[in-house]
């Protein structure tokens, strides 16, 4: 086989003289949607993880069941960078449709594993090509023709494993785990991996610089996606009612909730301590959440942008009538007929003020999978403490991709069920006023339907109520309730999760970001320091309303770069609403909104440019 001839361009030095690039590169697998490559990609990811090397994976997929191009990128990073890397170093070109474009987009020096009958080497002379007869290898290990489409993907796992020195023991462990309940499938897939490996060992000559070497940076860590993490968080927060309507990319939150509830919340008599309902639409889903929250349950739903829009009316009622509920918004780009499988952080403004009138909502902003778990827990406590809907804004990148994390810790505090009066309380008190600020925190006491006391009941409606929940349209009563809600907002400001601040006290430049922009900022700050000598401080927001630390951070810097994944600088806009004019002038924007997960390079370039570089 003439591998050597196409393996490396003439200009490049021989592989042995080339500098090895170890544990710092990205692999992109280009396939066709529906071809079953998910298992193979997951095995690659987990085998690298198994070698102790920090790794992240991102699925860039279309809104389609089968047939459209899809890409899976895996990044190994000895520095622990887990943001998307713009550049692809090792391409596995399995999709003839996208192969030419995929190859043309590569940087010089990259490696390409491809189906040998595609004439890809004609397009580039500065990358290494590794042709593989996938069909032939697959047919030899998989006699059953109908399984070949799936098994074929395992062949590239073996080829790549050989080329980059991926530990085959780690690969086998990942294969066995992936097919833990199907011994036959495990054996078949493992045979295909080995066949790929053997082919590469015999027929391919390594010509690119990308290698893996074992590290010890993943011991004790887990790999999980944000939606599963959030679902687990809901269960440990004691969720009892979940109502939902399917929508990408939020569906897997509820799937994780259902899966975990079914396993761990069915009691000894076989009865469920939970109710999950697939609603007729998002309006009904949030209506059920508010009905359940009103009646005292810990209730949640999960949706994405278009569903959030449909929940607008009820969200306002929830704010005014002061009803707890948890709403996950796993953000994606644009409208229903937009790019539903691409990521963004563009629901921030519309969710903060979702509904009509003077409505504003508490938002929690997880920045990693551990926070998806932790803030899911916090959201239920806050919802019941503050008696209001709480929105948890994740995004497709965080929710649907696999991330490394420390294992989650068991909650150390009991559930906070908020201010609820029992029949005994009412007997002692003689009665209560639902919307009266008794404790100075602007949060009233509530009773639940079914409380066995003649004074327990109150009438729930929107804004036209007085302290005793009586109907009123009197201006003074309205103002009193409006002001109390505003005071409650100030209480929320003190209760929501604080920002995470990295500050050395010397830098004049501060960066503010939230959510999945975090890993890109972490990497970008290193790039700015190493490449431009720019030192930056960093504040990662975890909630709205903003706590005092945010204003202090802005006040203590000369320039503030607000980095976010939307076009209109929504976070910067939200911050400016509460800033003094002198501080407003400090704010600059760094934006990323092409639907792909944000990468460090894009942020570095924008910031450096605005700093005059």
């Amino acid at each position: 086989m003439a591998t050597g001839e196409v393996a490396l361009s003439e200009q490049q030095s021989s592989p042995s003289a080339q500098k090895r690039i170890v544990n710092d590169f990205s692999i992109q697998v280009a396939t066709v949607n529906g071809s079953g490559s998910q298992s193979a990609n997951s095995i690659l990811l987990k085998a690298i993880f198994g070698m102790g090397i920090p790794v992240s994976g991102k699925n860039l997929f279309p809104s389609n069941i089968a047939g459209l191009p899809t890409w899976y990128t895996i990044r190994a990073s000895k520095n622990g960078y887990v943001a998307r890397k713009q550049e692809v170093d090792v391409l596995v070109a399995m999709n003839p449709e996208s192969a030419k474009d995929d190859v043309l987009a590569l940087r010089p020096g990259a490696a390409v594993v491809f189906e040998g009958n595609l004439d890809l080497p004609q397009y580039r002379s500065d990358v290494s090509f590794y042709p593989v007869p996938f069909d032939k290898i697959t047919a030899a290990v998989c006699p059953e023709a109908k399984l070949r489409k799936l098994v074929r993907n395992m062949v590239y796992v073996g080829v790549v494993a050989k080329l980059i020195d991926l530990d085959m023991k780690a690969v086998e462990a990942a294969v066995r785990k992936q097919f833990a309940k199907k011994q036959k499938a495990a054996d078949l897939n493992w045979a295909a991996v080995q066949a790929g490996y053997d082919f590469a060992a015999e027929s391919l000559t390594k010509a690119d610089p990308y290698y893996l070497e074992p590290m010890n940076a993943t011991a004790g860590k887990i790999i999980i996606d944000g939606n599963t993490a959030a679902g687990i968080g809901c269960v440990f927060a004691g969720v009892t009612v979940a109502a939902w309507y399917p929508i990408t990319p939020s569906t897997s939150v509820i799937e994780a909730v259902i899966d975990t509830l079914k396993r761990y919340r069915v009691e000894e008599d076989g009865k469920a301590s939970f109710a999950v309902i697939q609603a007729e639409d998002e309006l009904a889903a949030v209506g059920m959440v508010l009905g359940a929250g009103w009646a005292g349950a810990r209730a949640m739903t999960a949706t994405s942008g278009p569903g959030i829009s449909l929940m607008a009316e009820f969200s306002g009622l929830g704010y005014w009538a002061e009803i707890p509920g948890v709403i996950f918004d796993v953000q994606r780009t644009g409208p229903s007929t937009g790019m539903p499988t691409r990521t963004s952080q563009a629901d921030l403004l519309s969710t903060a003020f979702l509904s009509h009138g003077d409505t504003k909502h508490v938002l929690l902003l997880p920045g990693n999978v551990k926070e998806c778990y932790e803030l899911a827990g916090a959201s239920f406590d806050l919802a019941e403490r503050l008696q209001t809907p709480i929105f948890v804004l994740s995004d497709l990148d965080l929710g649907m991709n696999n991330w490394m994390s420390e294992p989650f810790t068991y909650p150390d505090k009991p559930l906070d069920r908020g201010k609820v009066l029992t029949a005994e309380d009412l007997t002692k008190l003689g009665g209560f006023a639902r919307y009266k600020d008794v404790d100075g925190d602007a949060i009233g006491y509530r009773t639940l339907p079914g409380t066995d006391h003649p004074a327990a009941a109150y009438f729930t409606r929107g804004s036209g109520h007085n302290e005793k929940a009586g109907y009123t349209e009197k201006p003074d009563d309205y103002i009193q309730q409006m002001e109390r809600l505003n005071k409650k907002w100030e209480t929320a400001r003190t209760l929501v999760p604080k920002p995470v601040i990295v500050q050395d006290g010397k830098s004049k430049i501060g960066i503010i970001a939230f959510g999945t922009t975090d890993p890109a900022i972490t990497e970008s700050r290193d790039q700015l320091r190493l490449e431009y000598g720019i030192e930056t401080d960093y504040l990662r927001l975890r909630a709205y309303p903003f706590s005092q630390e945010i204003f202090d951070f802005i006040a203590s810097h000369e320039r503030i770069y607000v980095a976010e994944q939307n076009r209109d600088a929504q976070l910067a806009t939200l911050i400016k609403m509460e800033l003094k004019p002198t501080d407003i002038a400090k704010l600059r924007n760094i934006l990323h909104y092409n639907g792909l997960p944000v990468d460090a390079r894009s942020l570095t370039d924008q910031l450096a440019k605005q700093e005059g570089n």
Binding site: G220, A237, T240, V241, R265, A272, M288, G296
Partner: protein, 347 residues
């Protein structure tokens, strides 16, 4: 001669409560509004059955009808929610506390137009609740537009003629899975009283369409939802007798003339047949009867369909006996061992 007058003790029901404890705030609806009569019938039925007001959740959407829960049962929690979306709120509330009785009050606009999406799914789920449509064929609070239950050819006060067919919420409810479906008239005190009492004994969705004339916008000649029209066209298909579970059932009746339905809680619904083709357990026949009545310009009232044992959504979810809302943390937060197991699975 000096006399001492001892005020008579207020009359109380079987749980010792006077009727006053079932009343609500003063109505703000128009004098003569059918909705007020329905509120009175709800008060009567609950008082007479001796149901505890605290055992009820009142739920409503938006409209004149949906305001009415403020005018009865002040001792019951109430939620005046969003236009056309009360079914979802009721569903959530019942999931949170299945041991309550849910009483929903809606209108023809709130149900048959903006609320149709949630209405049909409520029926499908057979959620345990009583869903009353206070049906007057017009939007009152927005001053008299036709609703989707207005009959073809009926006129507004302004002379506008309705030329779209009405939605028959009863036949729709039967088709979709409601398990107790009837129609009454706010002016028919005995029928509505008996129907409401039976409704409280039913375990699934009760859908009652109660024609309730709007004296301000739809009580004129040309309206098919006026008091006069109903007095002339009301065709009861049965006489409803109801014997609650705590009373002895009287067995003295003429065979073949009545149908007895044993309710889930042991009460008895006795339906005296006024039509030959009437069988309250046959869905197909019930819908046929309703469609024929439409063709003949009749307004049938009575219990059209009842299935006392059909599983409800609460049955299907196989919930624990206690209300989910107040389960203690020990039953809702799994232990640390569970989290450890989940973490190990992701290592």
């Amino acid at each position: 001669m000096a006399t001492t007058t001892v005020p008579p003790a207020p009359k109380v029901n079987r749980i010792g409560l006077p009727v006053l404890d079932y009343r609500g705030g003063k109505t703000t609806l128009c004098a003569g509004c059918g909705h007020n009569a329905i509120s009175e019938r709800i008060i009567d039925a609950m008082y007479e059955l001796g149901l505890k007001p605290e055992s009820i959740m009142k739920l409503s959407g938006i409209g004149c009808s949906s305001k009415s829960p403020a005018y009865f049962l002040s001792r019951a929690h109430s939620f005046n929610s969003v236009h056309g979306r009360m079914p979802s709120v009721a569903t959530g509330a019942m999931l949170a506390n299945k041991n309550m009785l849910a009483l929903g009050v809606s209108g023809d606009g709130d149900t048959a137009s903006i609320g149709m999406g949630q209405f049909v799914h409520l029926m499908r789920r057979n959620l345990p609740m009583i869903y009353i449509i206070e049906d007057n064929g017009v939007y009152g609070l927005t001053k008299g537009q036709f609703s989707a239950t207005a009959d073809i050819g009926s006129t507004l006060k302004t002379g506008v003629i309705n030329d779209l067919p009405p939605i028959d919420t009863c036949s729709l409810a039967i088709q979709l899975g409601a398990t107790f479906v009837g129609r009454s008239f706010s002016g028919d005190k005995p029928q509505l009283n008996a129907m409401l009492k039976a409704a409280f004994s039913h375990k699934g969705t009760v859908m009652l369409d109660v024609i309730s004339p709007c004296v301000t916008f739809n009580d004129h000649i040309g309206s098919t939802k006026s008091y006069k029209f109903m007095q002339e066209h009301d065709e009861p298909i049965n006489e409803i007798g109801f014997v609650p579970s705590y009373e002895e059932i009287d067995v003295d009746y003429e065979p073949g003339t009545t149908i007895d339905v044993r309710m889930h809680d042991g009460a008895q619904l006795r339906l005296k047949k006024l039509r030959e083709d009437y069988n309250p357990t046959d869905k197909v026949q019930a819908v046929k009867m309703l469609m024929e009545a439409h063709q003949n310009g009749e307004v049938l009232t009575g219990v059209f369909y009842v299935n006392p044992e059909a599983p409800t959504i609460i049955d299907q979810l196989n919930l624990v006996d206690d209300a989910l809302a107040t389960l203690p943390q020990e039953r809702t937060r799994p232990g640390k061992d569970v989290l450890d197991k989940l973490m190990a699975a992701h290592m």
